[in-house]
Symmetry: C2
Subunit: 195 residues, 2 copies
């Protein structure tokens, strides 16, 4: 495969920023297109544990509000859409459909709970990364956050299930006035080594 | 922002596959370019907990081999490069550099170990997702895997540190004969809801 044009590197990585204020609307069609991309990303044995709640109505936002850290409250209430990136701890119940050529369910359903939680968090977070990249590819700006009360979100949005919240993402058209100066990153030799 | 051209959606998501055999070489320059993209992806308070070991030499591959599940052994030994995607549980030691405008280190260094492990796994996995997307954007094919003994990898590659392995990724030019038929994915209504 050839590499993507440089403008794509800018849009996905180099110029993409975490915004704190958004305008615009995020339509049902856009959310469906977003999922149509995200769903193809790889996960362990195609378990696809991520579950996404797109919080868009005033009523749903009001249910989310009490769980938000003070610093994330106003911007999240004002954003066109807030995604609850979550994962299903009972993800293996879907394995007969998602990995039909063998009994993958049996690889998971006897594992201890903490191992299942690690697998769900690893793969659900990977899918959260795909969501951020897919949103940027579609021309949306993102504001990912982990400053909120996961237990409150779980009680409000996932009661009676084994679905657990992971992190949140505000979506929309980012306001360039709302971004902070770019923070430093680790150099290659701090984050990587070649052996 | 406009959306990326449709060919980019194919390359990153729709046509991208998990390969089981690879050819080609992955140069130092390519690995540096990969990190130059990955490093910009967002993480909680810019903690950037992921650490990447690019296992390329025969000697390093031989150290990795005993940790691999049988089904992942031959393909990993033959791949041009295998990335150990890992994360530093002491990630907050870098906060004074990475988040210099406030004392972010104090947000983390008093947290219980299991919370720190969750934060590192969440954000390290997100960065692993960025790595897969950046590799595909650069025209590389990927073979991500979690079938290996994490403790063995940690003992061999991260002894005496608080760095822990997360998952592995083979990199190179994928052999189309090595991919399986595409497995099903969850539909929008199974994985998502709009509220």
């Amino acid at each position: 495969m050839p590499e993507l044009p440089s403008a794509a590197f800018d849009q996905l990585f180099r110029q993409a920023r975490t915004y704190n204020a958004f305008s615009g609307e995020v339509s049902d069609e856009t959310l469906h297109r977003l999922h149509e991309l995200v769903k193809w990303g790889p996960t362990t044995a195609n378990t696809c544990p991520a579950r996404f709640v797109f919080v868009r109505s005033a009523q749903a936002k009001a249910r989310l509000e009490p769980a938000l850290d003070e610093g994330n409250r106003a911007k999240t209430m004002a954003a066109p859409c807030t995604v609850i990136v979550a994962h299903d701890l009972a993800f293996f119940e879907k394995s007969p459909v998602l990995f039909p050529h063998t009994d993958a369910k049996s690889w998971f359903d006897t594992k201890p709970k903490d191992e299942l939680a690690t697998i769900a968090l690893r793969n659900g977070s990977l899918q959260g990364g795909y969501l951020l990249m897919a949103a940027r590819a579609l021309g949306l700006d993102c504001g990912p956050m982990s400053g909120f009360d996961n237990a409150k979100v779980d009680a409000e949005f996932f009661a009676g299930t084994r679905i657990r919240s992971n992190f949140l993402v505000n979506l929309g058209k980012g306001d360039p006035a709302s971004i902070f100066a770019r923070s430093p990153r680790l150099g290659f030799d701090e984050a990587c080594r070649i052996e």
